[in-house]
Assembly symmetry: C2
């Protein structure tokens, strides 16, 4: 399918390339067309990859993936345009991370989340929070970590959730390892996991890890 990937950072580059390799046509969106990183990415991606503005990528995509930094997500989506997002599945991979004080703070937290803010700001988009609990390399190569570790999805639209789960399958996540936590308010849970993730990353000295859920 045609997919718009918003964001030119490591997450955007990694996810966008994996989607091309899975057989999709992907347009990477940035604040301005001709973004150096986006152009470099499109060259690496080949014929199925292209680049443009946030609006270009969103208009191109039948489905959109938000890989912008959490601090810039709402602005990027506003530039993408509410009309262009209407009716589309919007997979939100971003986290509300704020390191401006020198240590990790979530700018949305507790009784709020970035996923909910995005859904509230763009009510006609079908927002699915996903993949935000693992680092970019693990997102697209779950086999790099052993065991039946999981990712989480949540969102208000079951059709969008099924579509997102299918796309996760393209990235190597079998449906049995995609835990559906219900509506978009569960984004609080997966985003508030980040401080634990970060401490584990610091403890292990590596971001190549994930959690499995074991049940009695």
């Amino acid at each position: 399918m045609r997919i718009g990937v918003l964001g030119t950072g490591t997450v955007g580059q990694t996810v966008a390339l994996a989607l091309v390799r899975a057989g999709h046509e992907v347009r990477m969106g940035a604040r301005q067309a001709g973004n150096e990183r986006a152009v470099g990415w499109a060259e690496e991606a080949g014929a199925a990859g292209s680049e443009g503005t946030f609006a270009d990528a969103t208009g191109f995509g039948e489905l959109v993936v938000n890989c912008t930094a959490g601090t810039g997500s709402l602005e990027a989506l506003a530039a993408a345009g509410e009309e262009r997002l209407a009716g589309k599945t919007l997979i939100d991979v971003a986290n509300p991370l704020d390191f401006s004080t020198g240590e990790l703070r979530l700018f949305a937290c507790n009784d709020d989340s970035l996923g909910e803010r995005i859904q509230a700001a763009f009510p006609r988009a079908r927002v699915i929070k996903a993949l935000n609990t693992v680092n970019a390399a693990v997102m697209v190569d779950p086999a790099s970590v052993p065991g039946d570790h999981v990712v989480f999805v949540c969102g208000d639209d079951d059709g969008a959730k099924a579509e997102a789960t299918g796309l996760l399958g393209d990235l190597g996540w079998p449906a049995a390892r995609v835990v559906d936590l219900g509506d978009i308010t569960a984004a609080r849970g997966t985003e508030m996991y980040l401080p634990l993730w970060l401490r584990m990353m610091q403890t292990f000295g590596s971001a190549t890890f994930n959690i499995a859920v074991t049940r009695g």
Copy 2:
């Protein structure tokens, strides 16, 4: 060893009984001596179990476990008395859960945590945050959940951490499944995991689960 367990709820009762069964002498502390639940517990526990006030239990214990509700922990520890806590390992199992609005909110969160508040309020106690990421039954019977699932410890005092890890061993947690996240500020991570834990519990319809960490 002699252990004071503060709190007469499910967590206190479960942890205190498991510690007695592991060979320790345990005094359960409540706001007032003669608390009905504490007396019932002490009868079940037998000769190695006793009950009294928070101060009684803390004075009795060479080590203290805070199993009070998070909303009442600082008050309970104040009643226990700073002098009685001085120099002792204080394992903090509580979570800063606030359901007063009808949904889960953490009353300490993001750039703060209950574990840190306790350490700051009782600087001479050696606070170790532990076991707060699993439900009471799993705390004392990790084998009820399959696989190499983990618990986390954090705190500023390495000796106290070793002591706490030993006590976790008594409860069935091998040292290899106790993840040391560093100083007490890591309590932010393990406490902020609770919203994800709660959503998983609701999704699974069971609290008998835990997370394993798999590393590439």
